[in-house]
């Protein structure tokens, strides 16, 4: 950021002239210039409270030096600050002595010992010895404030960091100061545990050892830890983390303060699911189904031979179309590329889909103009959330958006069929539309005409209010699947309608799987090739680089499973996917797995679907492979390898390379670096994204690919890739060409006649590399049928803690996943003749489940709200993937 004179003030700190930003706090300005003022309560991502008094320094604003907390005072021109004067030293020493008066000094048995700000600052600024001979205050040793966090009140120095975080940052004000004076303590109210998705952050920001997390407590000492910086892949937000391990086991993740993404915060799922990597249930050796039809351990050689034979047989029988891959969102970018190259470039099948029908068509994700998190959170803007409950699926994005709403005046318009975590306090307007009616509601919203009638269940007043908000500033749409029982097509069409009507609107993908965006960028979807190019658009370019190419567009996950159920798939590869749990139509998933001739699963765990496989190949997990991952913005950041995989588990890309070899082909890569280099060379949007670029000061926080970045000073668009690789101007041209605005079909994107999947042909550029850009598909959107009087319309959403593999395999998190429960509007109970709390049977055309019920005013009438993938009732038993919506009957069992 280039500061102009109007933005800055000149202050003097310890005799050193400093240019401070206007409004900048003294403590921050000093730190930016290398002068560290000790502190406990101050945290750069939270509002200052000036409570600990440790940062007290002598500040002279012309009326003589006076002791002032530097975390509360904004820099003013001509201010003189003395951080080391005798008066300052005496005051700071005094504060430290006070802090230690009631501190138990149990450092030898404290988890914080060795990385404790109190310890460190006592060494640096404190008195040599204690003059306190009286009795210290005592509390019961650690009390659990939540399932994950323990509180040792004796160690607490009452800095208000955890309580402030809970209240101001997370919006979960469940821990408070209680009592007063020297008996003040942090605690929860009875029966109200600190059940926050973000509770682990309080442990990280605690400046003493008062808060400890159950997964890490007494597990390691800081000086025994090895640590590497990496990126969290528990969801697609891509928070930067420090991964800490001890004796080849992961023991802790800590959030890294990354301006662009997570600001140092993590959600508890991301923070604690390292337990899954350490799980005893990890697969450590290949399994092959024997003659008796049971899975038996095998050598890699046997397992790979068996797989290669199956693929070859399939190729002989039905050609490349008999080979299909489902999954890949768990993989690194490099591994995704290896598998795309194997499937599309060596075998020649386009039946590759990283998603399981619960996401959005790749063309929607790649074809709409993308936004970064910062774009969405920019002051004065408007964010339309037409996607998942952010707190449940993309928790740190929720924190960023919450901050933007509360501190930067960003307004949120929420389109959701049931109340979400945004509804109560963050959304300016909530459009509670009838499931299936996203498109008409969006049309009314972005249409430039007055709304006088109800549209899709939304009152005209609400629509008018939302229209008003939409006119206030630049609009970013967070786009995803808010309701898994509502077809993706309906959301895609609605997004296209917004794109068509609002100039300069940008989209931030709300797909949640770890590297789903990287997988799509690298072509893990039918009709695509690496680098955001269509199969046809990139055919010429890739024909020179890959042994072969698919002849025509292939099938998505639903199509693959349908084909498999019809006996048309010879080899089905599950690339870290569990269709039985995650595919929206469980019955189809079951039939597909049964119908494929050979199912090969690459996984870390023996999931329900993996148990159906004929060959199980154990693969490396988080922290066991290096590479890069791509977050929902398209930001590529590094993944570090720090521990070894269990048993003989291999990285997914090695499996691809081995298979290619056994199929008589050659992937042409021998390392992750080779893969990265090849991606950079062949995939247009990755052009210029070298390993050096990712190590550069700018690139370390991740580099957004395929998007024009913020305007640079001279008004010219400068790409993030180019910024990260300043020394390589030659790549700039290619990179810029790679980011040409997507060629979007200008005409109405919703047309009656076209079918899903027909993509208008993109003119080959003739010059290599191809222009990246994915045209939006054109859909037929069927109006949802009206709900009959006896039915309820199904809404299926996800919760952070579900029966997904990561949560289930992390002992600390597993118990946090609640069983399935049906949410109904309180007034629907009488009509249905069921009692709150009682078990009900939910029946759709696809199947039925029996679950208990709970009244929930956040659910509109005639809507049945169920969470996906929970114990006791799987929502994907009910969902009808062929219908735009799913209607259900709810009865006494």
């Amino acid at each position: 950021m280039t500061a102009t004179a109007a933005d800055t003030v000149g202050i003097t700190v310890d005799g050193q002239p400093i240019e401070a930003m206007k409004g900048e706090l003294v403590i921050a300005a000093a730190e930016r210039n290398g002068i560290y003022i000790p502190r406990f309560c101050y945290h750069s991502r939270m509002k200052p409270v000036g409570m600990c008094r440790m940062c007290i320094v002598e500040i002279d604003t012309g009326r003589g030096p006076a002791l002032q907390p530097s975390c509360m005072i904004e820099c003013t021109d001509g201010m003189t600050v003395s951080t080391g004067s005798p008066v300052t030293r005496k005051a700071q020493e005094g504060v430290l002595e006070f802090l230690l008066v009631n501190h138990p000094l149990d450092c030898p048995v404290c988890d914080k010992g060795g990385e404790c700000p109190l310890q460190d600052q006592t060494m640096a600024y404190g008195p040599g010895e204690s003059r306190f001979v009286e009795e210290k205050r005592h509390f019961e040793k650690p009390i659990p404030v939540s399932d994950l966090v323990l509180l040792d009140r004796e160690r607490c120095i009452l800095c208000d960091r955890c309580t402030r975080f809970a209240k101001d940052v997370a919006g979960d004000p469940l821990i408070h100061f209680m009592d007063r004076g020297s008996q003040t303590e942090v605690n929860t109210f009875p029966e109200h545990p600190f059940a926050s998705y973000f509770s682990g952050n309080t442990v990280q920001i605690c400046p003493v050892g008062a808060l400890t997390s159950t997964p890490y407590r007494f597990k390691a000492r800081p000086w025994d830890l090895e640590q590497v910086e990496s990126t969290c892949t528990s969801c697609s937000v891509g928070c930067r983390v420090v991964v800490q391990s001890s004796r080849n086991r992961l023991v802790r993740y800590q959030g890294v303060d990354n301006d662009a993404v997570n600001w140092g915060w993590l959600c508890d799922k991301g923070r604690f699911d390292f337990e899954a990597v350490n799980s005893e249930d990890r697969l450590g050796e290949p399994l092959v189904r024997d003659a008796a039809l049971s899975l038996k351990p095998a050598t890699w050689s046997e397992a790979l031979s068996r797989t290669a034979e199956a693929v070859k047989e399939g190729l002989d029988r039905s050609g490349p179309e008999g080979f299909a891959v489902i999954g890949g969102a768990r993989l690194t970018n490099e591994e995704c590329y290896a598998w795309v190259k194997l499937a599309k470039g060596v075998i020649g099948s386009d039946h590759v889909d990283a998603q399981l029908g619960d996401g959005l068509p790749a063309e929607v994700v790649l074809g709409l103009p993308r936004a970064t998190i910062d774009d969405a959170c920019r002051p004065g803007g408007t964010v339309v959330v037409m996607g998942p409950d952010l707190k449940e699926e993309l928790p740190v994005l929720y924190l960023r958006l919450r901050h933007a709403v509360r501190e930067s005046g960003v307004k949120v318009v929420e389109l959701a069929s049931v109340a979400t975590s945004l509804t109560d306090q963050l959304a300016a307007v909530s459009l509670r539309y009838r499931p299936g009616c996203a498109l008409p509601v969006v049309r009314a919203l972005v249409g430039r005409h007055d709304v006088d009638d109800e549209v899709g269940g939304v009152a005209p007043e609400a629509l008018r209010a939302a229209q008003q908000v939409l006119g206030d500033g630049p609009v970013t749409v967070v786009l995803g699947r808010g309701n898994l029982a509502e077809s993706a097509r309906s959301i895609g069409a609605a997004a296209a309608a917004i794109h068509h009507s609002l100039a300069d609107v940008r989209f931030l993908s709300g797909l949640r799987r770890a590297n789903v965006h990287g997988a799509l960028e690298l072509g893990m979807a039918p009709g695509l090739l690496p680098g955001r190019v269509t199969l046809d658009g990139g055919r010429e370019w890739f024909a020179d680089r890959w042994p072969t190419l698919p002849k025509a567009r292939g099938l998505d996950a639903a199509g693959i499973l349908r084909a498999a159920a019809d006996g048309k798939i010879d080899t089905l590869v599950l690339l870290g996917s569990d269709p039985l749990a995650d595919f929206l139509d469980r019955d189809l998933a079951r039939r597909g797995l049964a119908g494929a001739r050979t199912v090969v699963a690459l996984d870390q765990f023996l999931t329900e679907s993996v148990k159906q496989a004929d060959v199980v190949l154990p693969v490396a997990g988080y922290g066991e492979v290096e590479g890069t991952t791509t977050n929902l913005e398209g930001r590529v950041s590094t993944l570090a390898r720090t521990v070894t995989a269990p048993g003989t588990a291999q990285a997914d890309w090695i499996v691809a390379a081995e298979l290619a070899d056994r199929l008589g082909g050659d992937l042409g890569v021998g390392s992750v670096a080779d893969l990265a280099a090849e991606i950079e060379a062949v995939a247009p949007v990755f052009s210029g994204l070298t390993a050096e670029a990712l190590r550069s000061p700018v690139g370390r926080e991740g580099v957004v690919v395929g998007m024009p970045s913020r305007r640079s000073g001279n008004g010219a668009e400068e790409s993030e890739v180019a910024k990260a690789a300043p020394d390589e101007p030659t790549v700039d041209e290619a990179a810029t060409r790679g980011q040409t605005a997507p060629a979007v079909a200008d005409e109405a994107v919703v047309a009656a006649e076209s079918n899903q999947g027909t993509t208008p042909e993109l003119e080959p550029t003739g010059v290599l590399p191809p222009t990246s850009g994915v045209p939006l598909p054109v859909w037929t959107v069927i109006d949802p049928p009206s709900v009959d009087a006896y039915s309820l319309r199904l809404v299926v959403t996800r919760k952070l803690y579900d029966r997904g593999t990561l949560v289930r395999s992390s002992p600390s998190l597993a118990d946090l996943a609640e069983p399935a429960i049906l949410h109904l509007h309180p007034q629907d109970f009488d009509r249905l003749g069921v009692a709150a709390g009682a078990d009900v049977r939910i029946t759709s055309t696809k199947g039925n489940v029996t679950v208990p019920t709970v009244p929930d005013p956040g659910v509109p009438r005639s809507v049945a709200h169920l969470h996906a993938n929970r114990a006791g009732g799987r929502a994907n038993v009910l969902i009808d993937g062929n219908s735009p919506v799913t209607d259900v009957r709810v009865e006494r069992p």
């Binding site: 409270v49 000036g50 409570m51 600990c52 008094r53 440790m54 007290i56 006076a66 002791l67 509360m72 008066v87 005496k90 005051a91 020493e93 005094g94 504060v95 002595e97 006070f98 802090l99 008066v101 009631n102 003059r131 306190f132 001979v133 009286e134 009795e135 120095i157 009452l158 100061f177 009592d179 007063r180 004076g181 020297s182 008996q183 003040t184």
Partner: protein, 465 residues
């Protein structure tokens, strides 16, 4: 009635009793008696004959200083309300908690209507239609009397809609505190009133008048301050200004307690009467009990630096007391005679502050509690010579350089309040500390407060009764 006394200025001239005129009446708190004795005439005059600006001008002209302790002119404070910003509120600070202070309690118990009338006049002057009476939680009788008075006033059309048939409407809400000294600090009081923890607000905003209750313009006035308003409106600001000293107009209530023969609250002419008058005057506290000698006295509440013999002839006036190194504060004079164990006295006061520290900032939370523990240990017979300097050094870490007015490493002045009794006691009565500490200790911690450093007069000046 021992704690109330008619007031004259040494007998030379009759002084009007501005705020305590009904204290002698057994039923002075009733609406009937209040009206019989001239009550609500000022309100009627204000709302029917005067504009709000005229009322405000009268108060400004009276130079009525706030009676809560800080002594800020009430009329000026009202003027800080940003023009045109509504709603604005009047909040009555009835959380009188400073040890030794009990004047507001008597005003609320014995003449609640006078306070209500004052509130209404203030509301009229600043354009507020909502007032809050925040009464200290422990004052059961005051709460009861105020609640009764408020009900009666509502019933009589004196509070509520269309007061006295005019367009002027005010609602008054009575709110009881939950027992926290710090809530006497106005921003902590507002926090408490809003339902939050009673902790002082971080500044800026500096004045509640700009951003106070619910972030609206709010005038927070002390009970005694508002109780003066009916008299000022009726008799005019100039008449009020005729009383008292140049910079301290009117009369003022002082609560005298401790080792005096006649403890009580006395209304005296502000800034003219001396400490000697009020402690030894027959009409007032009537001298030290049992004919004992004066050892020390606290001139303005427990937070104030102690005064001694040589300070007796200072007038009860903020400037003079401040110049001598202490403060007049809330008007609480606590007298200690020669039988007082000053270590115990200091401990008792420090214990109060340690108990009342809100716990927000470190030096106050930990420092006051530590001071209390050290003093307690000394009293228990485990003092050490090093404790004397340790006490002062802890004081120095709470209130750097132990100066007056106090500097602070804390957020609010509560922490430094605990410093005054310790510094006063140690510096004046070092031998008593030596007795508790197993021997004399040289004081090496520098102390700068003027009152702490005052030495006994070599020649007994003036006449001691």
């Amino acid at each position: 009635m021992t704690d109330v006394d008619a007031t004259t200025d040494g007998g030379s001239r009759e002084l009007p009793r501005i705020v305590s005129s009904r204290w002698d009446l057994a039923d002075g708190y009733t609406l009937d008696r209040y009206r019989e004795t001239g009550g609500y005439r000022a309100l009627a005059k204000a709302v029917t004959e005067m504009t709000p600006a005229q009322v405000a001008d009268q108060v400004k002209g009276a130079s009525l200083l706030g009676r809560g302790g800080a002594g800020f002119p009430a009329g000026v404070k009202w003027g800080f309300c940003p023009p045109g910003v509504f709603p604005r509120y009047i909040v009555v600070n009835g959380d009188e908690s400073e040890p030794g202070t009990y004047k507001d309690r008597l005003l609320m118990e014995r003449d609640p209507h006078q306070l209500i009338e004052g509130v209404l006049i203030a509301c009229y002057a600043i354009g507020a239609s909502q007032a809050f009476l925040y009464v200290r939680g422990e004052m059961a009788l005051a709460q009861e009397r105020l609640a009764g008075a408020l009900n009666d006033a509502y019933a009589a059309g004196l509070v509520g809609d269309h007061i006295l048939g005019t367009d002027f409407s005010v609602d008054i809400v009575l709110h009881w505190g939950a027992g926290a000294y710090i809530v006497g600090e106005e921003t902590a009081l507002l926090e408490s009133l809003e339902g939050n923890r009673g902790m002082p607000r971080l500044k800026p905003p500096y004045f509640p008048a700009a951003k106070g209750l619910y972030m609206q313009p709010t005038v927070v006035n002390n009970v005694e301050t508002l109780s003066n308003l009916p008299w000022i409106v009726e008799n005019g600001g100039a008449a009020f200004g005729d009383l008292g000293a140049e910079s301290s107009k009117g009369t003022r209530l002082f609560a005298v307690s401790g080792h005096v023969r006649n403890p009580g609250v006395f209304e005296v002419e502000f800034g003219v009467t001396t400490f000697r008058d009020i402690i030894f005057g027959e009409r007032y506290a009537d001298g030290i009990r049992d004919g004992n000698e004066l050892k020390a006295f606290i001139p303005g509440g427990a937070s104030a630096a102690w005064f001694f013999e040589e300070h007796l002839d200072l007038p009860l006036e903020a400037g003079a007391v401040g110049a001598a190194g202490s403060m007049l504060g809330s008007g609480a004079i606590v007298v200690m005679d020669e039988t007082t164990d000053v270590v115990k006295a200091a401990w008792r006061i420090v214990r109060f502050f340690a108990h009342e520290s809100c716990g927000k900032c470190t030096p106050c939370r930990e420092g006051t509690a530590w001071l209390e523990k050290v003093l307690r240990r000394m009293l228990d017979g485990y003092g050490r010579p090093a404790d004397v300097n340790k006490l002062l050094d802890i004081c120095d870490n709470i209130s750097p350089s132990i100066a007056w007015p106090p500097k602070q490493t804390t957020i609010c002045p509560l922490g430094p309040s605990a410093v005054a009794p310790i510094a006063s006691a140690i510096l004046r009565f070092r031998d008593e500390f030596a007795a508790y500490c197993g021997g004399a200790a040289e004081v090496t911690v520098p102390v700068n407060g003027k009152a702490y450093l005052s030495t006994p007069p070599t020649v007994s000046a003036g006449a001691t009764p």
